[in-house]
């Protein structure tokens, strides 16, 4: 998986490409830890180029959701494909995150 991070105003944008799974969820966790350390409250994860997620990837997102909650922050996702949305719905975690159809819409509403 490839991870790119940039800051857009007060939002940390994390762009993922490839597959988020047990092999690389720690790399994403490290990106999230760094963002928390810098006290960023708004994190947007762009899933446009992400084709697969497993339960460890879901757990990593939930961990970040909880950590952001502690500082009144927000975790949003955008460009999530239909299959991954299906995985979120099966596990009911879609209720936790703000999920937006596009990056622009997410940046406006986060």
């Amino acid at each position: 998986m490839d991870i790119k991070v940039e800051k857009i105003n007060d939002v940390v944008l994390v762009v993922l490409a490839g597959e988020l799974n047990m092999d690389n969820s720690n790399a994403l966790r490290e990106v999230f830890k760094k963002s928390l350390k810098e006290a960023n409250k708004k994190v947007l994860v762009d899933f446009e180029k992400l084709s697969f997620i497993d339960s460890s990837g879901i757990a990593t997102l939930i961990e970040m959701f909880q950590n952001l909650g502690k500082i009144s922050g927000r975790l949003c996702l955008c460009n999530v494909n239909k299959k991954i949305i299906g995985v979120f719905e099966i596990t009911k975690v879609h209720k936790l995150f703000g999920i937006f159809a596009s990056r622009e819409e997410a940046l406006k509403n986060i």
Partner: protein, 142 residues
């Protein structure tokens, strides 16, 4: 599944190492390409095999490398069967908490079996939980 028309796609034992799981699954997915399945079906099979293998290595064989995980995958024109068997102590699948319950929604683990049960058409635990048998029925030409 008719034994006359069934093709064995995989019948392999792999060591209990998590770093082998992704590569093994990538090889399985390449073999599935011959079946010309819908992309959505391949996604389901891949995720369920991934979760079953990780469970077998972590919770079944408890990472003991001398123990293996047996993966058997068979298919015919109508359905595909995956069996993942570990050499551990077994477990009671019915005792696994529902990860979608409000009190478990934030849990850091425990979603794998729920995903498998939701994405496959029939899931059976055999051999005191050491084997998970997962059946996917192809619909509408997938």
């Amino acid at each position: 599944m008719s034994p006359l028309t069934t093709t064995t796609i995989i019948d392999e034992k792999i060591p209990s190492r998590l770093n082998l799981v992704s590569g093994f699954i990538a090889a399985v997915v390449r073999k599935l390409e011959n079946l010309k399945l819908a992309e959505e079906v391949v996604f389901d099979l891949k995720l369920c095999l991934h979760e079953a293998l990780v469970n077998a290595v972590k919770h079944g064989n408890k990472h003991h490398e001398h123990l293996t995980v047996h993966v058997l995958i068979k298919a015919d024109h109508h359905q595909l069967l995956m069996e993942v068997t570990d050499q551990g102590e077994g477990f009671d699948a019915a005792a696994i908490p529902n990860p979608t319950a409000d009190e478990n929604i934030m849990a850091s683990h425990g979603r794998g079996i729920h995903l498998i049960k939701s994405m496959m058409d029939k899931v059976t635990f055999l051999n005191d939980g050491r084997t998970v048998r997962m059946l996917k029925v192809f619909k509408g030409g997938s």
